[in-house]
Symmetry: C2
Subunit: 375 residues, 2 copies
C-alpha cells in the first residue's frame, strides 16, 4: 500500500510548509531596494519584535542557514583569545565548540552525556573557576538528542557576570514562548526551516543590550552592527533572502494570532501525548528532560533504523539518530504540526512495529495520545 | 494610466522569475537528508558542471547571497598577510577591497575610473612590482557601472604566476558562455538572483586546480573543503537552501537547452539594441566597454532619477546609480529577459522623456532597437 500523496515529513527541520506560506514563496519576486520591500520588512521586524517581546530592536536576519547565525554569534560577540564554556551534549553542542575554536576562542567543553540536560550548577562552578570567562554557549533544544537545557536558570547564573549567555534556539524559537530579555539570554539564534515553517536559508540573531556593548565588528558577511543599522530602516547590507523575509511575515502572523502561549501549549500537548503513546509501545523517550519541539524515541531492543524504514514505506519520514546515536533512536518532530497530525505518525509507527513482527494491539498508541490530549 | 499588472522589474538582480521556476518554489518542501534530494542535487551539480565546462567538479554552493561566496573566496584561498591586488572600479570592486582587508590581506587597490575597464597591462605591471602577490580580485561585470573587465586577458597574465585570478561573475555567469578553466580563472563567484532567475539566497563558488592546492580551511560556515567533500556526494555540510537548489536545476536546464552560445547571443543582441536605442534618444551608454548583462545609461543633461521615477509610474522599474553615480545614471538589466521584453522598458523610457518635456518622436528608440535585432 503505497502512499499516493507523496512523503509526509515529521523531521526536526525542514518541516512541512503551510499552504499560505507556499503561496507567498511562489509569487513573482519583488526588488529589495524598494519602499514596498522596506515596508514589508519593517512589518516583519515588528512582528518578530512582538515574538521575542523585548523593548529594544536588537536583532538581525541573515541570508544563511542557522549555522551562519551561530557563526555570527561567535564572530560578533567574542574576540580572539576569549575564554568561553561550550555545553556539549549532542551534535549541535559540538558545533558550538568547533565554531569557537575555528575563530580563536579558548573553549572549555562541558561534556554532558547525550540525552541528559546540563546541570546549571556545573556551569556555575565552571564560571567561578574561570572568572575571565566571556560566554556560555548552549542549545535550548539540543535537537540531536531531544534534550532541553534549562536556559532560564543559566540566565540567572550569567546575569550578574560578564559572561554572555549564547543560546542556539533554532528548534526552540517559535515553539516555546521565549522571553530572552526576561530570561537573561544575551544572544539567541533561530532558523527559518523549523517552527517558522519556511524553507531553509534565513537565520535570525537576537541579542541583549549587554551583548550589544561587546560587538566586535570582526565579521563581514555576518556583521551584526552593519546589518542592524540597515535593518532598523528596513534594508539590509547585502541582498536579503527576499522571498523568505516576505514569507516570514506570514509565518509570524500565524504564530502571533494563535498566541505564543497557545503555540507552546499545542507543542506541550503533542510532545506529552507522544511520550504516552511510545511508552504504551514499550519504548521510552530518550532524553531525561525532553524538549517539546520534538520527541526522540529509544525503541530499546529494536533497531531504530529498521523502524524508520518501515514507516518510510508508508510515506512517513521521521529522523534517525545523529553521530553516536545513529541507529539507536528515531526522532519525531512536532514543529509546524497540528494536534491531529500526530495520529498519522503514530499510526505509521504502530503498523511498522507490527510488520516487524512485534505483537501489539493496533490503535493503543494512538489511543494513549488521544487520551493525553483529552486528559 | 496605472499598470494593472503590477511592477515589472528590469533591475540587475533580483530579476523576474520564470513561471516554471515559481512552480518549483511553491512546492511542498522535501527533506535534504534523503536519496531524493541527493539525486536532485547531483543532477543540479552535473548541469552546473556542464555550464562551466571543466573536467573537474571543483565547485560548491552556499546558502547565502553572492557576498557570502565572495567572503568564502577570500577566506578559503588566502592566508592572513597575503598580498593581493583588488581592481576597484565600482561598488563591487570596493567590496573585494573591504573583504580582503577585513580578513587580514594586504590589499593593493588598483583604482579604475568608474565606467572604465581595467587595463590588463596595469595589472601585469603591478604583478611585476609585487612578485609575492597571491591574487588578483576583480569583477567580470561590474554591475554598478555596467563595465566589463577583460578577465580572459587577465587570465593569460596570471596563468604562469603564483597569483590566483579571483572573479566575481555574479552578473556574468549564465550570461556569457564562461569557460573558467580555459580562460585561466582560478576562483569564480556566482549568485542565484541574476541570470539564474531565482530568488536571492544561493551562491556558487567554482575554483581551479591551482586554487584548490591553496585551500586554507580558515572558514567554518563557508568552508570550501568540507562542502566539496559533502557536495560531491550530493549532500552539504550544513542545511542547504533546498528550494533554491531544486529550482536551480530548472534554471540550468533552461540555460543549457537554449545553449550558452545562444544565451550569450541573446544578451548581446539585447545590449547592442538597447545601446542603439538610447543613442537615438541622445543619451549614451555609460561604460566604455559595456557588459552585455545590463546597460548603464548616462542621460547627459537629464536627471537619471527623475526619469526612473517617471518610468516607475508606468510600472517599469530600472535601477539607479550606486555610490558616486547616484542620480547620474540608470541601469537596465537584460538578465532573465527575452528579446521582446526590451521594447517594454524602452517604450516606458520614451514616454518618460516626453512627459518630462523633452521632445522626441515616440517609437524611434524602440525602432532602433528592433532595427538592431534585425540587422
Amino acid at each position: 500500500m503505497k502512499p499516493f500523496k507523496g512523503e509526509r515529513i515529521f523531521t526536526p527541520g525542514p518541516v512541512e510548509l503551510p499552504d499560505s506560506i507556499r503561496e507567498v514563496l511562489g509569487r513573482q519576486i519583488i526588488h529589495h531596494r524598494t519602499p514596498e520591500f522596506t515596508q514589508s520588512f519593517l512589518e516583519t521586524r515588528d512582528l518578530f519584535k512582538k515574538l521575542v517581546g523585548c523593548p529594544e530592536e536588537n536583532f538581525v536576519f541573515f541570508a544563511s542557514s542557522g549555522t551562519g547565525a551561530m557563526e555570527a554569534a561567535v564572530l560578533n560577540f567574542f574576540e580572539e583569545g576569549d575564554r568561553v564554556i561550550a555545553v556539549v551534549g549532542g551534535k549541535f553542542g559540538e558545533r558550538w565548540a568547533q565554531l569557537g575554536k575555528r575563530w580563536g576562542l579558548k573553549v572549555i567543553e562541558l561534556s554532558v552525556e547525550w540525552g541528559k540536560s546540563v546541570d546549571p550548577e556545573e556551569v556555575e562552578d565552571l564560571l567561578k573557576e574561570n572568572p575571565d570567562c566571556k560566554g556560555v554557549l548552549v542549545q535550548m533544544s539540543e535537537s540531536s538528542t531531544g534534550a532541553l537545557h534549562d536556559v532560564k536558570t543559566l540566565g540567572e547564573i550569567t546575569d550578574e557576570k560578564e559572561a554572555l549567555l549564547v543560546v542556539d534556539a533554532i528548534t526552540a524559537l517559535g515553539v516555546y514562548n521565549m522571553k530572552p530579555c526576561e530570561w537573561g539570554i544575551d544572544v539567541l539564534v533561530g532558523g527559518s526551516q523549523k517552527a517558522f515553517m519556511l524553507p531553509p536559508g534565513l537565520s535570525m540573531l537576537w541579542f541583549s543590550e549587554k551583548a550589544k556593548r561587546k560587538l566586535t565588528g570582526r565579521a563581514y558577511y555576518f556583521n551584526v552592527e552593519e546589518e542592524l543599522k540597515k535593518q532598523a530602516e528596513g534594508q539590509t547590507a547585502f541582498t536579503p533572502a527576499i522571498t523568505l523575509i516576505l514569507a516570514l511575515k506570514e509565518s509570524l502572523n500565524m504564530l502571533l494570532s494563535e498566541g505564543m502561549d497557545n503555540v507552546e501549549k499545542r507543542y506541550r500537548a503533542m510532545s506529552e501525548g507522544t511520550r504516552k503513546a511510545v511508552e504504551t509501545l514499550g519504548m521510552r523517550v530518550f532524553p531525561e528532560n525532553p524538549t517539546i519541539s520534538l520527541t526522540a524515541v529509544f525503541p530499546r531492543d529494536l533497531d531504530a533504523d529498521s523502524l524508520r524504514k518501515e514507516m518510510l514505506r508508508m510515506g512517513v519520514r521521521v529522523a534517525g539518530g545523529q553521530g553516536k546515536l545513529k541507529g539507536k533512536i528515531f526522532r519525531i518532530s512536532h514543529m509546524g504540526m497540528d494536534l491531529l497530525d500526530m495520529p498519522v505518525v503514530l499510526s505509521a509507527l504502530e503498523l511498522a512495529l507490527k510488520r516487524l513482527g512485534k505483537y501489539i494491539k493496533l490503535g493503543n498508541a494512538v489511543g494513549a495520545y488521544l487520551e493525553a490530549l483529552d486528559g
